[in-house]
Symmetry: C2
Subunit: 336 residues, 2 copies
DNA sequence: GTGAAAGCGCTAACAC
DNA sequence: GTGTTAGCGCTTTCAC
């Protein structure tokens, strides 16, 4: 920062004291109009900007939010980030990003890295490994140190903090009912998120919808996928073992797109022979052939609401913790 | 930051001076071993972390990089970000993200927002609007204020700074030659990036490859797409006007995937009747049916190299500006 | 109407 | 071996 202009420099050049310059820049009534004008002119010329670090130190607030994202290559999280950035900007907050890459250790490091006064609080979605191994004390530590956390999407009821989620149960419940109403007889669920709470909720929505309906009650068919390598083989085998399958609901879009691919390969006509519903609104849904019907999580709103919630918390540390639920909706495209 | 522990608190509680505590935490040879142990024990108990803002102020460096990304929903940029985050982390740097959303105004605001001592330097890719309207003085201003900039992918020769790019010309040149070698006779280019320098370079690579070859010299066929709405109609019309088309090269993967979709709709068999090559390695390429052959930009390496370059610059402000070229490679999948 | 001084949390040169 | 002090850039209270 070689050429950074400071109040001191301006003061010296104008033959004024630092405090006068500071006040002038704030249009203080104490300062002579002419002086104000002089100061402002030079400040502009020198591109003066109050140093943020100094302000943070002085005010004990950074106006910065720490964001920890499990996977930036996931469209959902990118879209949440878009919402976070937009809303943070509107409120004069900056965002510092850390990526946990779904690892507990990286999540922990990120939390520690930023809890050195870098940020005023956190917005995060829990790493897959953290959730499957049921870690949570690191969150508690951070909260105890005075950093509020807002969790979104992947949350845990072990931690008392603000949360922003969708109703995963309702989302798949409604989607399953949609397939039932279409007259689909054999509806399968492909889940790649079994280790996550949201994955369990999504499975529950599917189950409940079938259970509510006598003719489907005993026709539950769930395929769990645990690794990237499994997608294609697991889905192929689903098709082979269930020739009469005519409806597929998935908990993510890679599963849905892969199901679509397998359906093509096996000569099914979509949506005539089989309907497919994905989860999350991303580019793939629109570009696949045929385009994919999906459950939209309104990711942008999740991000936006998370920032709102964190800022509210920052302004009122003692309010009760809230869990806000963002609506989902089914976007009908060509696979149903 | 209610409970943040400071040196002052520790000093008071231990009946020591602030500087003794500070030195003890740094294992200073001046300090008695026992004291060091006492200090460290309490520091640990109280989760003491030196305040980053205070350090920044003291050292005149933030150990933070400002990153300005045109579009976070673009897989390429997300992947670059992954590389940036990883390399920054390794070097104990944090990253603050701003999104320009391809708007000049937002890019300008982001630059101004962060040039208040929030960051030590910038890594950015130029917003589409900035490039099409040929703005560049805002970059100059920032550099003059002492903030080094590393530009990646979308760069401009109007600004003297470090750059990290791929050889766009060579990438399409090679890809086109690959199609020629396959015996494809009528090869079209679909470009959605005509307003960007990289788009022009990519078109040049295609043109040059055809020109080098007498039987292709006069068979250049370029479709320019200027808006999202155009993709499907423009590509449909390309197919209709050129029934003998048997090879398609694109400058992005939305074009390629759309071309694939149109080919399906029109009853072409891919890759038998027509070959398609996309640009950028993303999820769509692997998930489309058939999976898409693409030019991989090695986005992760671009991000990594950008951070390396910026850190070198920060350590040696007077070195000559460099432009580093990251290799591309053609990933052969099922559409060729 | 302007300026001096204290303090945010930290480090480091310099006492003692 | 430990403590005092100055200063990073800023705001704000309190003099003058």
């Amino acid at each position: 920062m070689i050429n950074k202009t400071t109040l001191k420099q301006l003061a010296k050049e104008l033959n004024l004291s630092i405090s006068t310059v500071s006040k002038a820049l704030k249009n203080s009534y104490e300062i002579n109009e002419k002086t104000i004008a002089r100061v402002k002119a030079l400040a502009k010329k020198r591109h003066y900007r109050p140093n943020r670090m100094a302000l943070s130190l002085k005010n004990s607030q950074t106006k910065t939010i720490g964001v920890i994202i499990p996977n930036i290559l996931n469209y959902f999280f990118s879209k949440v980030l878009l919402g976070i950035e937009d809303e943070a900007n509107k409120n004069d907050y900056q965002i510092i990003i850390c990526l946990s890459n779904n690892k507990y250790k990286k999540e922990l490091q990120s939390l520690e890295l930023l809890s050195d006064g870098s940020v005023d609080g956190f917005i995060l979605s829990i790493a897959r490994e953290t959730q499957s191994k049921k870690h949570s004390s690191h969150f508690k530590d951070i909260i105890q140190q005075g950093y509020p956390i807002v969790m979104f999407d992947r949350v845990t009821n072990k931690i008392k903090c603000d949360k922003v989620i969708i109703d995963d149960f309702e989302a798949t419940f409604n989607a399953t009912n949609y397939l039932i109403k279409q007259g689909r007889k054999k509806i399968a669920l492909i889940s790649s998120l079994t280790d996550l709470n949201i994955g369990k909720q999504r499975a529950n929505g599917y189950k409940k919808a079938l259970e509510n309906n006598t003719s489907y009650k005993n026709k539950k068919l769930i395929v769990n996928i645990h690794s990237k390598a499994e997608y294609e083989t697991a889905i192929s085998s689903l098709f082979e073992k269930n020739k009469n399958i005519d409806g597929i609901l998935t908990t993510d879009n890679v599963s849905a797109t892969t199901a679509l691919k397998v359906a093509h390969q096996k000569g099914y006509s979509v949506p005539k022979d089989i309907a497919i519903i994905g989860f999350a609104d991303d580019k793939i849904s629109r570009l696949s052939y045929p385009s994919l019907t999906t459950i939209d999580q309104n990711a942008f709103d999740i991000g936006k609401k998370s920032v709102e919630t964190l800022i509210e918390r920052l302004n009122n540390k003692s309010a009760e913790f809230k869990t806000k639920v963002i609506e989902t909706n089914l976007i009908i495209r060509e696979t149903t």
